[in-house]
Symmetry: C2
Subunit: 121 residues, 2 copies
Amino acid sequence: MIVKKSLAEGFAAFEEPWSPRVAGEINNMQIKLAKLEGAFIWHRHDEEDELFLVISGRLRMEFREQKAQVVEAGEFIVVPHGVEHRPVAEEPCEVVLLEPGTTLNTGNVDNGRTVRNLERI
Amino acid sequence: MIVKKSLAEGFAAFEEPWSPRVAGEINNMQIKLAKLEGAFIWHRHDEEDELFLVISGRLRMEFREQKAQVVEAGEFIVVPHGVEHRPVAEEPCEVVLLEPGTTLNTGNVDNGRTVRNLERI
């Protein structure tokens, strides 16, 4: 089956921040839509690299061991596996995430912000 | 190393249509930028799914066994492996491609439009 989707319609389908929705799959990777607002938790993914493409708003990606990067709409950043990071959105921000299907949103941390069984849109 | 890139700057760095540039890597996948213009060739990828996210212009994805899909800016389409397809851009079109690093642009066809050793931007 061919999947075609509009990012705008996808983002319109949910409100909850920090709760990515799965919009499609490419081999073992998933494309997810996420809304970010405020600061997330520090975490790392031991095996999975993670791409954030900012569609609207602005994302500040903080790192333990190097300076933060500000990612504007129309820019993307790749966070390699093993790198501890904390996404912060000082204003609401919409991002496309691309990462292996095995990726847990909170990486090595399992707490109240961990989301399993992501909804599909 | 953290890779952060602007799509606009990436697209400004080359002109040639049907010659994807590698902009980043996420595990075994690559994110590529491509400019499309006119009709490409019919081909399929036996193992690799392929995502096309249209950034500007409009892409018509033709299929042998089902009707074509028009993909507008802000929309994406996933072409599953094994599905014969032909991308057509009646006007110049910029796309983000997401696919395994093993993907050859012309899939099962090897001809003058095949590009190996993609440039990185």
